[in-house]
Symmetry: C2
Subunit: 464 residues, 2 copies
């Protein structure tokens, strides 16, 4: 006997629960089916806008009874179809759960709801002398960033979401609410459930509250750009910087194709060769010393035209250009969509991985700018495709597959920060083999009916 | 039908597998039943000394067939009975798996076997310019440190084991071998199994290989001590230091009782009031600047007698005294054993937690020195007891229970770094409530027969 209720009956129950904050409007459904990447639209059947954890719990229980999939949704900026409603169901949009619940300035932490974006959060923190450093480029939601284990430009100095989430409140698949940890800076109390839900992409439960570490706003900040004749020289500079213990806050690499893109998009005049974007945080004296060391190291590795940006507006222009690489990249081929992919390798293998990937894209006729968080060995390629040409899309996916295979062969990972989502389910198996069976066992234990964001991370959310 | 084979038959099978490296000798068994804490001896039935991951896999399979518990064992320095053989069974001693398997200097990582100790590792790294900073005081094994999510004096700067383990090789309860991650610096590929096994105390699988992050040896190191009239002043200094963004490498607090202990044990002449032990790492100029800032902050908070130790031998004497607090503490009451306990609270609550705990111990007539990693809000109390007086032991445990309850009420954790082991199973429930049910579900999924280090973390390793 199938005990599941139909979408109509579920919609009525949800509507009884939260009134017009359960929506079936076509426009709303469509908006929650799209993403910034090349995936086709996969809209949910219903979108709900809860305002409290209790409401999320009740929604999850109704969905569990109905046997209906649940897909959490933040700012919609994920890149691997992480929030696509592959099997329809109920999309939980956290737009109305976007508050700062508590700032603990002495403890340098903050408790937030999942819908707040990183820029909103930093705006609210303005008067505290503290900031939240994780910057994936897009103005993503903190819930989404937690769920995909986001990192971005400042991870080389401040870590990823894994390192900056202190505790979570999570609604489990049966509607129970748990807290994964207390607010202590560290703990050895039992299994690390915080890290289990960070990066689980909503497949094990729905995050409803996040406690984040904050950091003191540095006294001084200095940024710089520097051009290099080859990718190798730029990467060698990054390696030498890190080994010299200079605590760079950002070490970003843009290849010649990407520089061409941002020159056009942001009307800039960078030399069109591989370029490092650097930033240093600290006291006035420490930043000056770091900058001096960095410049010397870059020059040793054939760096040219070291240009410093100390004034806030100069730095802002520089990082604005860097943050817009997605749109700048798309501008290189008007009308194109991007297959956006990222891998991460040990930094000693990075130059080889980058160079071979660049060559592979060129040889196959793709415009495919590369941008990387090279301090971590992580880089992205935007493979520009005509969305109406299935051959091109197939070619781009094959190029991506070779890039991932190369990264795995170099002891790297199929994704440094975008997550597995829909696009990398098979690669996860290539990368981790039998470990995926352990993930499946955990999934089956915590979500036995496979309703939590199905199809993501583990193919079809199936039981082992 | 009970398919389990008896210990005798299992011993024979193990002996067939690894010859004399499976031991039933009384002395060997006893040695693996003791710990540095107050727990009574709980020896295993058999001790095995494998040399390869394959052997560990075969041992685990034989134990699984026999229905016999498996307890991994490193240096035996854990403090909560984490490696006690509560149900007998087979103890896997990693003494013969203590090699450095690969140093990747450019990537600043190292692959090691679990039996190597942190001091052995740093000795092997001597020529690389790199070091492994996690320092729990004791010369613990890397496998044990991973399993208990150890941290220690330098966590405030370099993080805990959670932050410094890149990847693990693990033998699962059925003998399968998995790798939890590749060697990339970060990854968003699926569930964070690395962090799941770090801190699991061997209850989910046996760690057989660890890939660790390394850090550049700082160009300059400077250490100092400073006395304060009250615990509050010392803690306020630590808070101000952290908020000023001074990246202190160590911020250790010893209370007046502990100072009395190390003065006697190490023949030192510190003033017997709460004292901070500090250390700074960086370039010459950066360390000088940090030291200057720290001294100014300490003086603002009534710090007195700031004494710098720049020469390596002076620093070594200072940290040797700090590292020996366990023995120095025991020296305050000859013949005593210590109930050693640790909690961790948000730093804004630390001074209250410390002061109340100090008062509680004094009011109940215990000699109970306190030492803390105050930069993290983490502190230890050594409650000295006559091991032959059950009333005293009960009183000490009650004092510990009040300390833990206080920490949890202040939004802290029942253990910052010792782990749950045997001693804190009930407190884990008090701290995390329903989240413990999630831990039980994971335990049941990965170790359905409850043979992996039973009795630790989750009471009796029972199924949910």
């Amino acid at each position: 006997m199938d005990l599941r209720v139909g979408t109509g009956a579920l919609a009525e129950r949800l509507s009884n629960l939260i009134g017009p904050r359960a929506s079936l409007a076509r426009g709303v459904l469509d908006q929650h089916g799209r993403s910034e990447s090349y995936y086709p639209a996969m809209p949910p059947d219903i979108v709900v806008f809860p305002e409290t954890t209790q409401e999320v719990g009740a929604i999850v229980r109704l969905c569990a009874e109905a046997g209906t999939p649940i897909v959490p949704f933040g700012a919609g900026t994920s890149l691997e179809g992480n929030a696509a409603s592959v099997a329809g169901g109920v999309c939980i949009d956290f737009a109305r759960m976007n508050k700062v619940l508590a700032v603990h300035a002495a403890d340098m932490d903050v408790v937030v709801q999942p819908g707040i974006t990183r820029k909103q959060l930093n705006a609210e923190l303005r008067t505290t002398g503290l900031f939240f450093p994780i910057d994936p480029g897009a103005d993503a939601s903190i819930g989404g960033m937690s769920s995909t284990r986001a990192s971005g430009t400042m991870a080389v100095r401040y870590g990823t979401m894994k390192d900056n989430v202190l505790a979570l409140e999570v609604v489990l698949a049966d509607g129970r609410v748990i807290r994964t940890a207390r607010r202590a800076r560290k703990s050895a109390a039992g299994y690390d459930l915080t890290r289990l839900f960070v990066g689980a992409e909503g497949t094990l439960g729905v995050i409803t509250e996040i406690t984040l570490k904050l950091h003191p706003i540095p006294q001084a900040i200095s940024a710089a750009t520097c051009s290099f004749p080859t990718l190798h020289d730029a990467v060698d500079t990054a390696i030498a910087l890190i080994q010299s213990a200079v605590p760079a806050a950002r070490i970003e690499l843009l290849d010649d194709v990407m520089i061409r893109g941002i020159n056009a998009y942001s009307r800039l005049g960078y030399q069109e060769t591989p370029t490092l974007f650097l930033e240093f945080h600290g006291s006035e004296a420490a930043v000056a010393e770091q900058a001096q060391t960095a410049e010397a190291i870059a020059i040793e590795h054939r760096g040219r035209g070291f240009a410093w940006a100390k004034a806030a507006e100069d730095r802002s222009r520089l990082w604005h250009a860097r943050d817009n690489t997605l749109y700048a990249g798309l501008g290189l081929r008007p009308g194109a969509r991007a297959v956006i992919t990222d891998v991460c390798v040990p930094i000693s293998r990075l130059a080889d991985c980058l160079t071979q990937t660049r060559r592979d894209a060129d040889a196959n006729g793709f415009i495919a700018p590369i941008v990387g968080h090279v301090g971590d060995g992580n880089f992205h390629m935007l493979i520009l495709v005509d969305p109406d040409d299935p051959n091109e899309l197939a070619g781009a996916k094959a190029l991506q597959a070779r890039m991932v295979a190369r990264a795995i062969a170099l002891d790297g990972t199929c994704t440094g920060e975008h997550g597995i989502g829909l696009g990398k389910v098979d690669y996860l198996q290539d990368e981790l083999g039998d470990a995926v069976a352990v993930m499946r066992a955990i999934k089956a234990a915590l979500d036995p009916n496979g309703l939590m964001n199905p199809g993501k991370i583990l193919a079809d959310g199936a039981l082992p």
